[in-house]
């Protein structure tokens, strides 16, 4: 079964894309990604530019409405995701607990619909 682990992190300690790129390889995230790869469960994943770079688009009653910033203004922000292939939800939760974001923000675990 595929699951997406959505990383919610504290508002950006990584103010620029370069910072995000650096954090991707830092000790914690690097070690976690390595563990996923070594266990053969990693399918994919990306890190995103900080949320202040987001632009949100809506069409309300046919009228386009754009605004700067993320869709949800929450304390933690959507910073990236991992796509993993594991036998069941229990295994996915075990990997989510190891995700560095779990200790500082939150990790949302969502099963992926297979077509």
């Amino acid at each position: 079964m595929q699951f997406m682990l959505i990383n919610y992190t504290k508002p950006s300690p990584d103010a620029t894309a370069d910072d995000v790129a650096a954090a991707k390889d830092d000790e914690l995230w690097g070690a976690y990604t390595k563990a996923l790869v070594d266990a053969g469960v990693l399918v994919g994943g990306e890190a995103l530019h900080p949320s202040h770079t987001a632009t949100t688009v809506r069409i309300i009653d046919g009228v386009k409405d754009l605004h700067d910033g993320p869709y949800a203004d929450s304390k933690e922000q959507f910073g990236g995701f991992y796509l993993i292939e594991v036998p069941d939800l229990d295994a996915a939760l075990m990997w989510a607990a190891r995700n560095p974001a779990a200790a500082t923000g939150a990790v949302e675990v969502r099963p992926v619909v297979s077509f």
Binding site: G30, A31, A35, L93, M94, A97, R98
Partner: protein, 411 residues
């Protein structure tokens, strides 16, 4: 006014499991006992606020819940009901304070460990029915989805009732031993999960550890000749005695056994543990928990002797992996072998462990990293430290591993 609410909260927290156990023993159903008790608690909220808290609040609740259960069964109007009712009347003189196999909590634990109950749900089921922990909390410590866990618990409770799993002790010796083993495994798992949360100050987890300790003490009191139960009691007490030494008071960083300040070990608890181990040894039988407790006894001796007897530990570990070759025991054995034979020997022991078992087992990678760094294999040690860091789900343990990794010489 507030007294009533506080008292009810206190009872729900401290005695819920005992009351459910006592009731379900009488009404023959956990679900019915829980229903009756929650109604009794609701009534207490109303009655106690107006009339004050009764002298024996638990007795009041038990009586009210029992009457409620009798009413319910009466309305079900089945012939069997009357039989049960007579039994209840006969048994109603049995009040709290009984020990031995008459203790309803023990009977309930045996029912939870019935072979018909899915193994991984046994410990959560015991925690909920005997201790009254709510399923969300159990889900958090066991890393199960709260919804799924709730369903599994409901299914398991229904199974106990529908398939007629009796709330009695198994009469056959083999069956008794097997189920006792499951009970002990479940209690130990609960303790281990709880103890892992000490460093991060996780109150839910810390309470779970205390509750597991309470459960095993109940089992030991009820089954004085169960050597393995005493072994587990000793093992948990030894571990518990080091609670304050396991984490740095300021940074919360994990501190491994060999680097702990022995002055922070609770020597009174160590004495209790040693006594529990002696209780086990008075009933000759060799089991995994007695061996693990003996290993911890050797470590505990460092508090008075100032050194660790690695030769004794090596012997004990060799015995342990013969009867219980878990990945945890095999990894600890490798570490012990390295102390006497050097890192090379330890690494050989590590390499012999089944790759499927060790792959995502964090301590295996941490031990390997440690031994590789002793050998001066910096590059390989770095990689192993990263694996261990990535597999850890505990911030204090991660902080320790990162500090160790930082000590490696940089190329």
């Amino acid at each position: 006014m507030r007294d009533a609410t506080r008292e009810i909260e206190r009872i729900a927290r401290l005695s819920y499991g005992r009351l459910v156990a006592s009731l379900s023993f009488r009404v023959g159903s956990i679900a019915r006992a829980e229903d009756a008790l929650s109604e009794a608690l609701m009534r207490a909220l109303d009655v106690w606020e107006r009339q004050g808290v009764p002298k024996n609040p638990e007795g009041w609740l038990l009586r009210t819940a029992r009457n409620k259960a009798v009413d319910d069964r009466r309305s079900e109007a089945r012939a069997e009901t009357y039989r049960t009712e007579i039994e209840m009347l006969l048994e109603s003189h049995i009040e709290d304070g009984q020990t031995g196999i008459e203790d309803p909590r023990i009977r309930l634990m045996f029912a939870c460990a019935h072979p018909a109950i899915e193994p991984r749900i046994r410990a959560p089921l015991m925690l909920q029915t005997v201790l009254g922990l709510d399923s969300r909390r159990i889900a958090s410590v066991y890393l199960m989805s709260p919804g799924t866990l709730g369903q599994r618990l409901t299914r398991a409770k229904a199974k106990i009732e529908q398939s007629g799993i009796p709330l009695t002790l198994p009469s056959e010796h083999k069956e008794y031993e097997a189920r006792l083993d499951d009970i002990l495994t479940a209690i130990y798992a609960a303790y281990a999960v709880g103890a892992n949360g000490f460093g991060s100050g996780d109150a839910k987890a810390t309470n779970l550890a205390s509750e597991a300790l309470w459960l095993i003490s109940t089992v030991c009191a009820a089954l004085p000749s169960a050597a393995e139960a005493h072994g587990l009691f000793a093992l948990i007490l030894f571990t518990e005695s080091r609670r304050n030494a396991r984490f740095d008071a300021v940074s919360n960083t994990f501190i491994p056994l060999q680097q702990q300040d022995v002055n922070l070990w609770n020597s009174e608890m160590i004495r209790d543990a040693e006594q529990a181990l002696r209780n086990a040894q008075s009933n000759l039988s060799l089991g995994r928990f007695q061996l693990e407790a003996s290993i911890q006894a050797v470590h505990a001796a460092r508090q008075t002797s100032g050194y660790s007897d690695w030769a004794a530990l090596q012997t004990l570990y060799r015995g342990l992996v013969k009867i219980s070759p878990t990945v945890g025991a095999l990894t600890s054995q490798a570490a012990a072998e390295a102390e006497t034979g050097g890192p090379e020997v330890g690494l050989q022991f590590l390499d012999r462990i089944d790759p499927r078992l060790r792959e995502t087992y964090q301590p295996w990678h941490a031990t390997r990293a440690h031994l590789l760094s002793k050998q001066g294999q910096t590059e390989a040690a770095l990689s192993s430290f990263d694996s261990a860091i990535g597999l850890s789900n505990d911030p204090s343990e991660r902080a320790y591993l990162m500090a160790e990794k930082a000590k490696l010489p940089r190329s």
